[in-house]
């Protein structure tokens, strides 16, 4: 699912949890359950990929004008 790529990690996790709960409730029609399962596994993978790909988001600092600039954490002063 292309739209899964747009999901935030939290949304993906939330959806995954919802799906798991639905499935665990066990009153899902089988076809639906298989759909859920596939979607769930995709979400699980998505979550994992997001967690594994350690692309550090850049830390930014807001300057006087309210614009964002890259921010390097300085060491102890």
């Amino acid at each position: 699912m292309a739209e899964q790529e747009q999901l935030s990690f939290e949304e993906a996790m939330k959806q995954l949890e919802d799906i798991v709960e639905k499935l665990e409730a066990g009153d899902v029609p089988l076809e639906k359950a298989i759909d859920y399962y596939q979607e769930g596994m995709k979400l699980s993978k998505l979550c994992n990929d997001k967690l594994v790909s350690v692309q550090d988001k850049m830390v930014q600092i807001m300057n006087e004008q309210g614009n964002l600039e890259p921010f390097d954490v300085q060491g102890e002063e």
């Binding site: 935030s8 990690f9 939290e10 996790m13 995954l16 949890e17 799906i19 798991v20 499935l23 665990e24 066990g26 899902v28 089988l30 359950a33 298989i34 399962y37 769930g40 596994m41 699980s44 979550c47 994992n48 997001k50 967690l51 594994v52 350690v54 692309q55 550090d56 988001k57 850049m58 830390v59 930014q60 600092i61 807001m62 309210g66 964002l68 921010f71 954490v73 300085q74 060491g75 102890e76 002063e77």
Partner: protein
């Protein structure tokens, strides 16, 4: 007295005022006493009486001086004040113009802290119902602290260690000094205006009570309370508690702690998402098992045994039909028999006596005719026979014998036709028409011309 020059009240008052203003001791008075009659004027000035067991003195603390007062003076409070004694001309009253005030015994800041805490608590600002939930996995975090020092570094390193996916924006503020509260309030408001933050961390590293004081300011507390974005407060060390901590949605013991509360651990999340994946597998497995069971149940159920049921049913129906057929047949048979009996009865009632009789008489007549015809035939044959007998009797040898012919028979009973059949002396019988004569051959003579 007439030569005496009289002063105006105002002039004397002015004179006294000048006297006091010239006395360096009165310019800078350090005084210890208890507050009574305290009144905060709407315009910001404070009016009060400073007293001890033996005396009292009017005092005023103008807004300009009391604006930096950390605590709110109260009646009965023992205070240490510094100020100058001067005359309030319109009333002709000397009073103490207070420049500085501190609680006597405990620190002013502690007093102020307790007072503000009590005030905000009364307002209900610490109540749990106002606490906003902290999102479990934020996308964007605002860090409101000093851009230099350990706090910001601890927060940022902890965030990137635990959960590098989050976007972090530092909103730099002054965290101590007179301009710090304003700076912090503005940053909180700015973050709320931008509205793109999921959570804010507001705080600073450790320090003295004075250094941490901004976070005990009412304005800062208000800003934290009014923030629509959930706020985690992280001021100083674990032992430091500020008003900000009370109004924040979540209090962290340290800046590092705040970062830990703000973002989940990547490792834990991986475990959780893995666990969810496993639960997913299990759930589907269970579902599969359940469905298999259900399928089995269904297969065993009436619906699936239905064809079989149908057969057995049809079978039974067939039996029933056969039974019914037999019964119907029997009934039919019985009925037919019954009908037959009835017809018989009716037939008997319809007995053909007359036909029988007429047939019998026909038969008798025919028999009679037969006999008569037979008789006629017999008679005819009889007469024919008589005729034949008559003809025959004409040929009868006896008749011939009557005309004088006889027939010799040998001893052997054979008719003797030739002389060669008899010898001399042989006894022979000669049949005559009316009997026989026993004779003896005397001689045989054969005819020559035979």
């Amino acid at each position: 007295m007439s030569e005496q020059r009289y002063l105006t009240v105002a002039a004397l008052t002015k004179y006294l005022k000048r006297k006091m203003e010239l006395d360096p001791h009165l310019r800078n008075v350090w005084l210890r006493g208890e507050i009574s009659n305290f009144k905060l004027h709407s315009r910001g000035h404070m009016y009060l009486t400073i007293k001890d067991d033996e005396a009292r003195m009017q005092a005023v603390m103008f807004a300009g001086n009391n604006k930096n007062l950390a605590f709110m003076p109260e009646n009965g409070m023992n205070v240490l004040v510094r100020g100058e004694v001067n005359v309030f001309e319109s009333y002709g009253q000397y009073q103490l113009y207070i420049k500085e005030m501190e609680p006597d015994g405990i620190g002013a800041l502690y007093m102020a802290f307790e007072q503000l805490k009590e005030k905000l608590e009364k307002k209900g600002m610490f109540e749990a119902r106002y606490k906003k939930p902290i999102p479990s996995i934020p996308n964007r975090i605002g860090v409101i602290t000093s851009p230099t020092g350990a706090a910001v570094r601890d927060i940022l390193t902890t965030i990137s260690r635990r959960f590098p996916l989050v976007e972090t924006v530092v909103l730099p503020v002054l965290v101590q000094g007179p301009n710090a509260p304003e700076s912090i309030v503005q940053a909180i408001e700015k973050a709320n205006d931008l509205g793109s933050f999921d959570v804010l961390i507001v705080g600073r590293g450790g320090g003295s009570i004075e250094e941490l004081w901004s976070f005990n300011e009412e304005a800062v507390a208000e800003a934290i309370f009014n923030s629509r974005i959930p706020i985690i407060s992280a001021v100083g060390h674990e032992t430091d508690t500020t008003i900000s901590d009370f109004v924040a949605d979540l209090r962290a013991p340290t800046p590092t702690g705040a970062a830990e509360l703000a973002v989940p651990s990547r490792i834990e999340l991986m475990e959780r998402s893995g666990e969810l994946g496993r639960r997913l597998q299990r759930a589907l497995g269970n579902l599969h098992t359940e469905n298999s069971k259900m399928l089995k149940r269904l297969m065993a159920s009436y619906a699936f045994r239905y064809p079989e049921q149908l057969i057995t049913q049809k079978d039974q129906q067939l039996d029933a039909a056969v039974d019914r057929l037999a019964l119907a047949f029997k009934n039919k048979l019985d009925k037919s028999r019954n009908d037959l009996r009835q017809i018989d009865v009716r037939l008997m009632q319809q007995h053909p006596e007359r036909q029988l009789q007429s047939a019998e008489s026909d038969r008798k007549a025919l028999a009679k005719d037969l006999r008569q015809a037979m008789q006629r035939l017999m008679d005819k044959k009889q007469s024919e026979l008589g005729l034949q007998i008559e003809k025959l009797s004409l040929l009868n040898p006896l008749e011939i014998m009557k005309r004088g012919f006889s027939v010799p028979y040998g001893a052997d009973g054979e008719i003797i036709r030739s002389v060669r059949q008899v010898e001399q002396g042989e006894r022979i019988s000669v049949k005559l028409a009316d009997g026989q004569a026993e004779c003896q051959v005397l001689e045989t003579k054969e005819d020559i011309n035979g």
